[in-house]
Point group: C2
Chain length 109, copies 2
């Protein structure tokens, strides 16, 4: 699997989630896999890119067809439970940005 | 230094650069540091977040005040030379997306 999401022609939307983890896994990896699987099944989901380094800093970008699709996923009951655990257990801090992708470009050697 | 950029109130712009590296450093790290330093000195630069994992997948998000600031940085002569080296030496593939950040939210434990 490539680390680069295959998205349609712009415009579409991106949610940039940048986070710093607490120490230890504490169920984080399993929940992360579950959230990616669940998000992928939501209406309007276009793709996801996710990287975390050895210092515990991570950037996850999910791509969506519309703001409505993002709002729908935000309200999903299982995702809401994960968001609460994220604040209580897994993240020291995070930033979340909702963006409209206006143009894109891809390169393959 | 926090891994999360301190950006002003939206709207502002984000460039999401997702890449897969070739093997070996080949001068990449030094150029990366130089580009961050140089970008930070450009007009309209607001911040940068950058993560690369052990598999060589990286996401760098730079934040800018305007599309003009992004275009200006894209055309910078030293940055142009780095872009050529990136395609020739450092990246197997990449995706680049230019976005307008419409809203954001931050959390600190």
């Amino acid at each position: 699997m490539s680390g680069i999401a295959k998205t349609p022609e712009p415009p579409y939307y991106a949610v940039i989630f940048t986070s710093e983890r607490t120490a230890g896994d504490n169920g984080y990896s399993a929940m992360g896999d579950r959230m990616v699987g669940l998000a992928s099944a939501q209406p309007g989901f276009l793709g996801v890119e996710s990287v975390r380094d050895e210092q515990g800093v991570g950037i996850t970008v999910s791509y969506w067809a519309s703001l409505e699709a993002i709002a729908h996923w935000k309200q999903h009951a299982v995702h809401q439970a994960a968001q609460k655990l994220g604040k209580a257990e897994w993240y020291q801090r995070f930033g979340l940005r909702v963006c409209k992708v206006e143009r894109d470009q891809f390169f393959e050697m």
